[in-house]
Symmetry: D2
Subunit: 382 residues, 4 copies
């Protein structure tokens, strides 16, 4: 079951870390730490395996993959020895990372994207290709009536003005080309009625949004703890200090606001109310790919007694995200194979801003994921 992973933003940190990792794991140079489908509970259940994944993608920069890998090694994101060991294979991959097409109309651009996907599938004789968006977070797009109706969308795209933001155009092109779509970013992606309709019409699943890799992950286990213990959270404030390409981009107010909002949602969803406080994101170039998040929680217990908790999370964002890209591709491919269409709400475990009316506590999301894996495992009765 050879499966293509087509990465939008294929020359970025998350993308290249996931490629280096998949190659190194396949070569037996390292283990699958961080890959959820390789935990004892889920191991050997989902086809395709890591070894069945074939990489390609689009990007707007032309930095070669091996050079990016060397930068990641320099920054401590991937071990220098691994980056060197897979350098040859990365160079081979490089030809499958194409410049993002840009035509006169969005309809034509979508067609060009689709053509790249078809040729990638043909070239590697792949069973299917999953398109995964790991490109820079984009600002919220202006609303457009065609977002709501698939019938209106096609014609609208033939006009001279952009109707869809890049992430949604990628989703549109992917679905049109018969490829499931995963959005690891907070961008809009497939999240509009017209694209949901397209996915269903094409019999394709899609997943998202915004990979959950740090502070929000921790929140998704702590907030249920406070709720189950009937401890009222009065304030929950956080600050995220991060560098790297993602940080630079998030420093732009539009992108930042989208991300910060999706980071507080887990609280109101799991607590049943919104405590005071906000999550800040600050860009500090010097921190590179490592992020430091600090959260303060003040809460009230028996008879109103005030208490507090704080935590500091110091994680390497790309190293946390990359294995999830492998997991998400495998799960989405298996879901497609099993005939699932529409939003894969059981993948909420992976996302800060999951699709559908789903639980936001990690434990419930874990159960939901385990149930999905069971449902997708050939030869088991769910």
């Amino acid at each position: 079951m050879r499966t293509g992973v087509w990465l939008i933003g294929a020359r970025g940190s998350v993308a290249v870390t996931s490629m280096v990792g998949a190659l190194a794991i396949r070569a037996g140079l390292t283990g699958p730490a961080g890959c959820v489908l390789e935990t004892p509970a889920l191991r050997d259940r989902i086809r395709p395996g890591i070894g069945d994944l074939v990489f390609g993608g689009h990007d707007i920069t032309t930095v070669p993959l091996d050079k990016k890998a060397a930068q990641l090694a320099e920054a401590g994101v991937v071990p220098a020895a691994l980056a060197r060991a897979v350098q040859g294979e990365l160079l081979a991959l490089d030809q499958h990372v194409r410049p993002l097409p840009a035509a006169a109309t969005q309809a034509e651009t979508a067609q060009a994207i689709g053509a790249d996907l078809h040729s990638f599938r043909r070239h590697h004789s792949l069973d299917r290709v999953v398109v995964v968006n790991v490109s820079s977070t984009e600002p919220l797009p202006p609303p457009h009536p065609a977002h709501a109706h698939l019938d209106a969308l096609g014609p609208a795209l033939t006009g001279p003005d952009p109707v869809l933001p890049p992430s949604s155009l990628a989703a549109y092109a992917a679905l049109l080309a018969g490829c499931p779509y995963v959005d690891f970013t907070p961008s809009t992606g497939a999240r509009m009625p017209a694209l949901d309709a397209l996915a269903r019409a094409q019999g394709l699943p899609y997943a998202g949004h915004d990979g959950k890799t740090g502070e929000t992950l921790v929140k998704s286990v702590l907030a249920p703890m406070f709720a189950q213990r009937n401890l009222t959270v009065r304030t929950w404030s956080g600050v995220n200090l991060l560098g790297g390409g993602d940080g630079a981009n998030l420093a732009r107010p539009g992108a930042n606001a989208a991300k910060a909002a999706s980071k507080q949602r887990v609280l109101s969803e799991t607590l049943g109310y919104a405590p005071q406080g906000e999550t800040r994101i600050d860009y500090l170039e010097d921190l590179g790919d490592f992020k430091t998040a600090w959260d303060l929680v003040t809460f009230e217990g028996f008879l109103g007694t005030g208490m507090r908790m704080e935590f500091t999370w110091h994680g390497c964002d790309s190293a946390l995200a990359a294995p999830l890209i492998l997991d998400l591709t495998r799960l989405t491919a298996a879901a497609h194979h099993a005939g699932r269409t529409g939003p894969l709400t059981e993948l909420a475990f992976f996302f800060k801003d999951p699709l559908g009316e789903v639980p936001h506590g990690l434990a419930d999301q874990w159960r939901s994921l385990c149930d999905l894996v069971t449902a997708l495992t050939p030869g088991t009765t769910p």
Copy 2:
């Protein structure tokens, strides 16, 4: 369904905080924050309610309850206004807190304890009395052959030498008198084959051990998160700085060791391996009933990248423990009413060192608790 709560250690911080709280809640002066059975998910399910609880107990000190309440108010554990508001009722309760009996043999002491329980039940016309140990943590007792056999235990207790530590003698006396037994401390309590046999012979349930109120609670949600994300925890070290009566006692090496061990167990149980590191407990008189715990976790992600997390927990131990005493009494009484005997393993949610082969992750424990509540709820089909 009037239910007695007989507290061993009834003049201590946890005991008096739970009394003040129950009286204040009953009088409508405050809400049931911190009470697990009052979360939206579990509210109005379990009989007895908080208003059905009647307090009494044993202690070895004679500090009046209202004086202890005033000290707790001074220390910021309970609001001064509440302590004053329930002062009269506390004084009334004071006569039901008896000096711990101490006779020539442990058999006679047990009988005297039983007599106090009977007279308490009769005096208040109670449906049942739950005995809850909240007295000072005791050192591990020396082993004795009679711990293993109920047949041997009775005769052994008639000798001049102590055979059981105080917590186990209390459990013995309670079970003999037909009372379920809950141990909120890390002491031995009912945890020996002879007492398990006695509980089953008497048709009584029992529960324990060691209320989970702070650092271990946090561990029980964070450790599963690392496991589910396949992030290898390399080290997990903690330090607990605490004052108060419990702190003073834990500063004694024997008690301390017992507690520290039970605090790391959650890691190996949920991770499947034991990371490097230890949990320290240090006594700082000046901190009073407020405890500060700090934990450092170092972990390894994709391709071996090292990352870290630390948290500080600043909680009021008695305020965290007291509502759980109300919950545990209610649940144990309801389980008794429903005919449950032996260890109540579904109460693992409340304990650092739960009875039985049970999950140590909080989310699984929560589910188990919810299932128990459903099973105990009259008129629902579990």
Copy 3:
């Protein structure tokens, strides 16, 4: 040497905490913790003593002092017993806190303020009155040519439009009335050439700006440590979470920006360069007068090795500020007595944004303060 303390903002948290404290210390109910002039090194050197201070002031609210004190007690800023003990004296003080005058022109308002100062001095037969600004932080005022020239200022104030922000008008009125002026806030106060000229013309000293009570205090000892050890600070980021009246006001963007800037200045001044990073101030009503600040410092050592430090400061702002009000009044009165005029640059120890070209490291500021105390101590040869 009876000295008046005329507080602008006399019904605020800092003001009332300093009044309660001075009364309680005088009555022997508590010690002078937090008062710098009462450390062993400086004790019994400066006249007036705490017992020589007499309070009065202006405010725009009419909340009675004893009610404010009760609120501060409720919030844990002052002990309830002390607030009760000095209630009577506070009520007596209340009549000396007058509504802030507001006339048709700023010249007339200044005259009315001066009249209040004269009548206060006369009423209590005071040797001198020190005016201390502890009112809400105001936004940066628009520039005006009269700020630069004393000659131009008088006439400009007779016009219908405001020329000075409230803090500077208070400084103007104070200096005109022969009173030294201290600004504990980040507002403009006496910081303009025209007012400096007025102070010198009147033979009066003045001091400021912005009391240093928390995060900046810590920075002023840590930054010199990094500098002396030749460790390059790469980033220094902070977040301040605070409630209270001051917090509510600082949440307004204008005031916030002024304060945040003055909080980073200590870094460039002591390190010799400005590391990346910013200081954020967030308002969280629920935190009340207690503030939590968190700072992350990343630095580089030998051969470029990266390291990091973080700290959390959890302080009660009013309790930290109030004793400094007593110190500043005493020092400014003694300086006036000794004939000092113009900016008291030796008081940099107390301020985030000190006047003059002074060291920003706390240790150097401490030495400078000790030298001043020696110079002001009667009968010692400096």
Copy 4:
């Protein structure tokens, strides 16, 4: 002014990091970050310069210097590129690191050590050799009467039983051979009357003890801040989690106790009283050369209001220590050149447990150091 640095423990982390660094700085490959004598305030004052230092030493292991350097690079202590760049020079240095002599009596061992020192000086035509102890911390030695009298010491050393611990034997041998001695460890070294007498008799200076590189450094600026602000420190507790060779050694109870005690001394010396609390040292192999220290400080301000501060220090111990080795050698050599004999108390800035009755606050120590530099600077009038 060519100066030898003879390192006891020359194959350890601190030693090799300082060699790699000195070679790299000399080659212009990196700057002198972390070197106190290279701060703007002290630059170009002290001869010898870094470029004048020549390395040699004793050790009991035979791991080659370049191999140790490679390990340090692997562990992130020194950049891999630098370790490679100086590999050749390290190999050349390797022949000057000799096995620690061990003869039948300590007198003979001392003579053998002295012979190595002489031959090192001759071989390189050095003006002088400074012996610096950076070997593993040793337990407190049993007392011996000869420690108190130089007259008794010589004869005692000719016996079969050891009279001096290794660090003191090294000091004895160094002084006898005319070499100043610096102890960077908490071991006894020259700290006994007999060795002080020997230093004076030989006209030699000596320095120590226990390099101040992390938590204690921070304490030495924070504690004076609390003192100067008259804030009463109630508790100060710390935990140090460290790996590496030093950590492994400190995990042995004897060594640990010595170090922990020297870490709390700064508090009582700067505060004037000893707050509650202790400093713990725990060994966590996995942390390698990076150490994490966490400290909690609770303090009391105006009117008794309780507040708190905590900090986490995450430093690379060897990278913090190595530049100080260069500074200490240079300063001690210059002091020797200037005719100083006996304890160099002005070097307290560098040590956790400084010699003499000296201030323990860093700011005062800094001044003292600056004064010493001025005194040692040729052609300046102190």
